[in-house]
Symmetry: C2
Subunit: 219 residues, 2 copies
């Protein structure tokens, strides 16, 4: 199937410039063809759902509004396993990489890598192989397997903790968060303590940076 007609690609990125850049980059490569594009995870998923057989490769950013790249990857991989997913990320952090692996991404590259590596990644996943940016290889061969709980995400942070973290980043106090989630302020404090540990932060400030770096929240 790689011989005559080009491999069709769907790009999901909230930065139009990245999309246009990639399209231009690929315009000279007749092996690939960018069929459609989306600016958030949900639209990307909808586009695929409308005609799943149309796409062979999904090229997605990590941090996008409405639905993140990793969530999109998970959903696509579970419903349309024939689609290869290449994740593009701004940051090179253990947590995000692990999340991408757990989402069963086929390739993961950083946005600060060049055209060559990008094309290599595309070639590899077209051959049913995988490609992970060189910088993150050490991370992969660690014990990510044992953390394969569906309810554990970036850096061992639970869904509940993530929920609390999102509200913290929204400048809410423990008191306010407690009310919003119908739990005690003490419980929120405990979550905070665990978040501080898991993110190796000294204070809430570190927490905010952690959340942003790991794409757990929208800036």
């Amino acid at each position: 199937m790689e011989t005559d007609q080009p491999i069709s690609i769907l790009i999901a990125d909230d930065h139009q410039m990245i999309i246009d850049g990639i399209k231009s980059m690929l315009s000279s490569e007749k092996k690939y063809h960018v069929m459609d594009e989306a600016n958030d995870g949900q639209s990307a998923f909808d586009i695929i759902a409308r005609n799943p057989e149309k796409y062979q490769i999904l090229l997605t950013d990590i941090s996008m509004p409405i639905m993140s790249g990793t969530e999109l990857c998970k959903k696509v991989k579970s419903k349309y396993p024939h689609i290869k997913v290449l994740i593009l990320s701004m940051y090179n952090s253990t947590a995000v990489v692990k999340e991408a692996i757990l989402a069963e991404a086929d390739a993961y590259i950083l946005k600060n890598t060049g055209k060559d590596e990008f094309l290599t990644a595309l070639h590899r996943i077209s051959e049913n192989s995988t490609y992970f940016s060189q910088d993150i290889l050490p991370i992969i061969y660690q014990q990510y397997q044992k953390e394969k709980h569906s309810d554990i995400i970036a850096g061992g942070i639970s869904v509940r903790e993530k929920e609390v973290l999102a509200l913290i980043v929204k400048e809410m106090t423990s008191e306010e968060i407690a009310q919003k989630l119908f739990i005690s302020k003490k419980t929120v404090d405990t979550h905070r303590a665990h978040l501080l540990e898991k993110s190796n932060s000294k204070s809430t400030i570190g927490l905010v940076k952690f959340a942003i770096k790991n794409g757990l929240v929208e800036l």
Copy 2:
């Protein structure tokens, strides 16, 4: 001079993919030619300093390591005023736009704008005109003129305040910051209060987000 030989461009961006994307986008436009590239502000400046006449347009990202895009813009504009500067930004905030204007940028566009707008911006600055992304036009025609103090940056934040902010984002307490800057903790608290006002934040969390959004710190 626009007639025969292409207009030479220098790109500064710490994301190689953006550089390659832009290069691909411009490869079909024979009017422009990307001569060189840099991954941070300092290298970009060095490259220009080595041969200032070689470049007609500087295309730079806002947030870059070592030297930011706006700083780069200021330095280039003061030493080599013949070079037109187009600033590429991730975020569309009043503060950043104002900073870009004060840095005398010729064009300012967002990374989520498409190829067309990008080319329009290039054409405009080639004709000694300016181009500012449509979304930010209202901001421009406000009283940015009266804030034209060289020591005032993003959102009316002074250099000292910016200094304090940078340390806050590094998870330092007021006490620690006071020691580091050889001032009283009370002074640091005052700076904090002013920063909270100017960034419209309820707490330090908002301050951190503000700093990141406006490229005042490296994440």
